[in-house]
């Protein structure tokens, strides 16, 4: 049962960490629009190609 003395504080730390990340996400507007971000993965194809072709231009 001694493991509890390590596992439980570890859990506490993890939760504190999670709350910290959550706080950051809320502050940065990650939860402002939950409707459309789910669609983004479906829509991103074209611009990526565009970027790829642009990049070499910028470097040369």
């Amino acid at each position: 049962m001694e493991i509890l003395h390590i596992a439980v504080p570890a859990a506490i730390l993890l939760v504190a960490f999670a709350i910290g990340i959550f706080w950051w996400a809320v502050r940065h507007g990650q939860f402002d629009d939950l409707e459309r971000q789910g669609m983004n993965i479906l829509l991103d194809e074209e611009p990526k190609k565009a970027k790829k072709t642009k990049k070499p231009d910028a470097e040369s």
Binding site: M1, L4, H5, V8, A11, I12, V15, A18, I19, F22, W23, V26, R27, G29, F31, D32, D33, L34, E35, R36, G38, M39, N40, L42, L43, E45, E46, P47, A50
Partner: protein, 809 residues
């Protein structure tokens, strides 16, 4: 590459907007190697822009409403808008809504976008703006229909950004941000955080509580677990539960009770008792109850807040900031100035199609003014030099100049606005069932808890505390509190997808009580513009040829009835000797034949015995030999007007037509629709009085779209207007029909009835559950944990029941 399969269009439908394609028009855009038909040049240019930018994904992912029509984008006026937006570059105007950085190199603005319906639209706008020169950062929010843009002020102008959005078929304009909204935004974020903290904490305390259920746990570990639970629960009490405590204290200070009072009492008692137990290592702990309870309550509140926030944001989006610009004469030249700088005595010029910014006296010899928004009169009014013109009416033809007589508070328009303001204050509200029941219920709960505690103190003091706690938790009114708001937000969501925006959700509950429906005529029952309703062509003649001649002659006319003819044919023929006789008609010669087009009286000058084959024809075409064609030109009825009126009659709702138009025309239309109660020739104040009188017999619903309807819309118990209606009308009404169809009214009633039913069910469930569990809790048969789980299950059932409303019918 995939081919575009969704949405499937029929041959005769515009690929972009799904409107029918006018006959004889052949416009196409090549989309992924196949020619797609377009209904107008507007759609063609929008579709072309979308394809040119490589954004054809839009057509794949856009959402289509129940009737297969994308709910957007008939880009009629977008072209005109592009010129208008130039005015937004004026620094004076920008000060109101643009935030600039200190060195004024970058600027930021939030715009409201019309016509955005799904994630595909948001994506399209974001891509389009990212490709615009000078734009640094774009965020499109699909749930509030807003675009936030940050741009380099040296590289581009605000008008470029607006024009870029218009180019893909949306209308974006700055809007009047409601003060309420900002505080809502803050509140919403804080609620998410509180919810997150409570959620994580309750998971942890439940886990620990699980360990405590084992009987063979030794005392040292038990106490260790108690302290861990305390550590997790403390932030919940201190941070997450704040809104409940604050609300409860506010209610108690005002010497009343609300739902937060028993909730706060239960949580505070449970926490203090557990805290005491932990410090002195005695008694029981209830940490897991406290944090779970807080989490569930907060999620209910959060859902309610979201629905409210959305409604407020949508309402704010409708309040567009349109810079009022006028052209004023200064030293013989025309200069653009803001309307607020205009003074009485100035000379201003108004282009055709533009609304008059102020009241004034006409300088030009003649003018046609559409005053339908102010008066309801459907036909444009002829004005002569020296006549009074009113702000808000629309100049129909050729530029006019006028002398300003009244600005701001002195215009006819602003007197209507103040009428609306007073009506708004007097508007009767539907009593909310939840508020009434809730108050009694909370009182009863507190009373029962107190009685329980005292009784058990006499019977068995050791058990008194936890039993009282069970009573408080088990009878927690949160299922009751969730019953109405969740149903409303479900209904709002459903209507929103159906193209109806509800600003004031309380009307949904009260629709079943409506006794009278008042409808405006021009623009509500009718389309608000003239079109050729019926036509007759001489059987021996080629009708296309006759159309072409009518079209060509009417091109020379500025009369409002000539308008629809200007779209009758594609190409005009070469005419000679065109003569325009105002008030009668036109004559012209084509291929050595004399033609006349105009009123019956004018035609009879040639053919005195003539009678029209169309009884209602008001425009006729003839040559020397006889009548060639007859046309009935009128303000066309909306296609679903008759079905709508009949639907209401079946439900025994009294239908009244309130119009500013003259008695004869109103009567004609009313008999066609079967409306018996017609009140014509009304001024805005008369309309208001009529509605007030009708309200004596029961709640009244109003549907209208004009400025003259605005006060009535505010006064009626429930009111709807059209998105194409005036902003003033939108400001005063409870809902806006975005898809421009009258059958939306039936939808609102249906959903309203459904909402009411769901709310009833929710109440019956919540009260029934409490009735069963209360005796058990009072007699000490339910522990706090079970009470909490039962309460949560009850709330969950209520929410799930409400979510049924969101499903498509």
């Amino acid at each position: 590459m995939q081919s575009i399969t969704r949405p499937q269009t029929q041959e005769s439908q515009c690929f972009h907007c799904h409107q029918p394609i006018p006959r004889g028009l052949n416009l196409t855009v090549t989309i992924q190697d196949s020619e797609q038909p377009m209904c107008c040049y507007g759609c063609q240019s929008v579709a072309q822009t979308i394809i040119d930018q490589g954004l054809f994904h839009y057509y794949k992912f856009r959402e289509v409403d129940a009737d297969g029509i994308p709910q957007a984008l008939v880009p009629d006026q977008l072209q005109a808008l592009n010129e208008q937006v130039k005015a937004y570059d004026d620094p004076d105007i920008q000060r109101e809504f643009v935030r600039t950085s200190n060195d004024s190199s970058t600027a930021e603005v939030t715009l409201a976008v019309e016509g955005m319906t799904c994630a595909a639209c948001a994506w399209l706008i974001e891509r389009q703006l990212n490709a615009t020169q000078g734009v640094e950062h774009v965020v499109v929010n699909a749930s509030t229909d807003r675009v936030h843009v940050k741009w380099d002020a040296n590289q581009c102008q605000l008008s470029d950004i607006l024009a870029a959005i218009h180019a893909v078929g949306y209308r974006a304009l700055p809007f009047q941000q409601a003060d309420l909204e900002q505080s809502f935004e803050k509140k919403r974020r804080s609620y998410i955080l509180r919810l997150g903290v409570a959620g994580l904490a309750s998971m942890q305390t439940m886990m620990v509580a699980f360990g405590l259920y084992y009987d063979d746990i030794d005392d040292m570990h038990r106490l260790y677990f108690w302290w861990v639970s305390l550590l997790f629960t403390a932030p919940v009490i201190v941070y997450s539960c704040q809104p409940f405590f604050a609300n409860a204290i506010r209610a108690l200070r005002a010497r009343t009770v609300n739902m937060d009072v028993p909730v706060s009492l239960a949580m505070a008692l449970a926490f203090v008792a557990s805290f005491y137990a932990t410090i002195f290592d005695t008694g029981e702990i209830y940490y897991e109850c406290v944090s779970m309870f807080a989490f569930l309550l907060l999620s209910g509140r959060y859902l309610e807040l979201l629905a409210k926030h959305r409604a407020i944001a949508n309402a704010a989006n409708l309040m567009k900031l349109i810079p009022a610009i006028a052209e004023r004469e200064e030293d013989g030249q025309w200069h653009k100035v803001m309307v607020k700088y205009l003074q009485a005595g100035d000379s201003i010029r108004v282009k055709p199609g533009e609304p008059l910014p102020v009241d004034g006296r006409l300088q030009t010899a003649t003018a046609w003014c559409d005053e339908s928004l102010l008066t309801g009169e459907s036909r444009p009014v002829a004005k002569r030099a020296g006549d009074q013109l009113y702000a808000g009416s629309v100049n129909q033809h050729s530029p006019i100049t006028l002398t300003v007589t009244g600005t701001h508070q002195d215009t006819l328009l602003s007197s209507i606005v103040s009428l609306q303001d007073t009506a708004m204050e007097q508007k009767p509200r539907f009593a909310r069932f939840a508020d009434v029941v809730g108050r009694y219920f909370v009182f009863a709960t507190l009373l029962i808890a107190a009685v329980t505690f005292t009784s058990w103190m006499f019977l068995d003091p050791a058990d008194a505390f936890w039993i009282t706690l069970s009573v408080l938790v088990a009878t927690c009114p949160c299922a009751l509190a969730l019953a109405a708001p969740t149903a409303m937000s479900g209904a709002i969501n459903r209507l929103n997808r159906g193209g109806i925006l509800i600003k004031n959700a309380t009307i949904l509950e009260g629709l079943g009580r409506i006794k009278t429906l008042c409808v405006d005529k021009t623009g509500t029952l009718t389309q608000g513009r003239f079109s050729i309703i019926d036509a007759w062509y001489h059987p021996d003649q080629d009708s296309d040829h006759l159309k072409q001649i009518a079209h060509s002659i009417e091109n020379y006319s500025e009369h409002p009835l000539a308008r629809p003819f200007q779209q009758l044919a594609e190409q005009a023929v070469q005419l000679s000797e065109v003569d325009n006789l105002p008030g009668q008609g036109l004559s012209a010669t084509y291929a050595d034949t004399e033609f006349r087009i105009g009123s019956l009286a004018y035609i009879r000058q040639w053919h005195p015995e003539l009678t029209s084959p169309l009884p209602k024809a008001n425009v006729l075409l003839c040559d020397r030999n006889g009548l060639l064609a007859a046309f009935q030109v009128d303000d066309e009825l909306r296609p679903d007007a008759l079905a709508m009126i009949n639907w209401f009659k079946q439900r025994r709702i009294h239908v009244v037509m309130l119009t500013g138009d003259d008695q004869r025309r109103a009567q004609l239309l009313a008999s066609e629709l079967g409306i018996e109660d017609v009140r014509a020739g009304l001024k805005p104040a008369d309309k208001l009085n009529a509605v007030k009188a009708l309200q004596q017999d029961g709640p009244v619903m109003m549907v209208g779209d004009g400025i003259n309807d605005a006060p009535v819309l505010a006064q009626a118990d429930a009111s709807l207007t059209f998105a194409s209606g005036t902003e003033l009308a939108q400001a005063g009404s409870d809902g806006v029909i975005l898809n421009g169809r009258l059958n939306a009214l039936q939808k609102v009633f249906d959903v309203g009835a459904l909402t009411k039913r769901v709310i009833r069910q929710n109440f019956i469930w919540a009260l029934g559950y409490n009735a069963v569990v209360l005796p058990m809790a009072v007699t000490g048969h339910v522990g706090p944990l079970w009470a909490m789980l039962g309460m949560s299950a009850s709330s969950l059932i209520v929410v799930t029941n409400s979510l049924r409303l969101m499903r498509k019918s």
